[in-house]
């Protein structure tokens, strides 16, 4: 009888411990996540195609760049963080241009005049396109600017950065895409 009671108590205790462990595991998993990082469902999928008018040049069609690593950066002239990451994007363009990497700036919720003025002042050398109806921005699930996507040579999105991207992080993502496609 005593043995039975002891066994029941042990089972009850094990049940309580298991329940507490599950709750703690949920809390640890949830609290360990950075709330500002929202996983894009597009990572690993084909990048939505677009043909957009360039500010200073012919229209750009993404599908025509298949076989090259493409960095798509959504930005606006009124966006302070976009100014912060400008150096990183310029550096990536200079550093990887010869390796077949293309950087495209997609202007978001801006006026053509303000965008042109910024491009001239900041001496942006890579192609900058306009997305007047935000059709492309919505296809990429944009929540704000800046946001950057890295598309590999097969046309798949391999990285998504929300907020200002650093030069080292961008170089790392581009290198990963180049190395993966070289294999």
């Amino acid at each position: 009888m005593r043995q039975r009671t002891a066994r029941r108590r042990a089972q009850l205790l094990a049940g309580v411990v298991a329940a507490v462990a599950v709750i703690v595991a949920f809390l640890v998993t949830g609290l360990g996540r950075d709330p500002s990082v929202i996983a894009s469902p597009l990572v690993g999928r084909a990048a939505p195609n677009f043909t957009l008018a360039q500010l200073n040049g012919p229209p750009v069609t993404l599908s025509r760049l298949r076989g090259q690593v493409v960095v798509i950066n959504f930005w606006a002239s009124w966006c302070a963080e976009c100014h912060v990451e400008q150096e990183a994007l310029d550096r990536a363009w200079q550093q990887f241009q010869d390796s077949g990497v293309v950087v495209i700036g997609v202007n978001f919720e801006d006026t053509t005049g303000a965008a042109r003025s910024y491009v001239r002042t900041a001496d942006v050398r890579y192609p900058v396109v306009e997305d007047p109806a935000s059709h492309t921005a919505l296809a990429y699930g944009l929540r704000g600017v800046p946001e950057t996507f890295v598309v590999n040579q097969s046309g798949r999105i391999v990285a998504h950065v929300i907020g200002a991207v650093s030069a080292s992080a961008l170089a790392s993502e581009i290198n990963s895409a180049l190395i993966a496609s070289a294999r």
Partner: protein, 176 residues
Amino acid sequence: MTAAGTPERAGVSLSGLVVLAALAAAVATLIIVAVGGHRPASLAQQVQQIAAGLHCPICKDLPVADSPAPLAQQMRQEIVQKLRAGESADQIRAGFVAAYGDSVLMSPPRQGVAGTVYYLPLLVLAAGLITAFTLLRRWLRARPHDPPGAGSPQLSQRQRHAVARAISRLREEEPG
């Protein structure tokens, strides 16, 4: 085949015809009400309906239909364009889900980890009921089946006489 059977059968078929006619009239009325009563929604109504089911990605708990944010306005515009291009409401919703994930829906599907939020209370309730039922059954089994009157103390013959005497004495002492 009797002579008397013919009018009887004719009567049955006549009543059957009446029932059939009544049924046909009812079905026709229902079709007329269903088709004529629900006019196809206008473009604005369709946009409103779809936008009400989408969560504004940059707002807190606000549907695209009610958000003044430029992104929400562009989403509404995108819905208009897609509807004009012949896409269905489901296709439009699927397009937004592909870009933003399930979180863009005001009512995300009850699948995966998110589904536990919906089903956990029910599971807890079911577990509680099972536990209560098990405990109750165990308690009922553990309790000995007492015979009727077993709860009252067993008195000897002598004690019963003493109690009867005391009761009769009390009655005699009662006034009136």
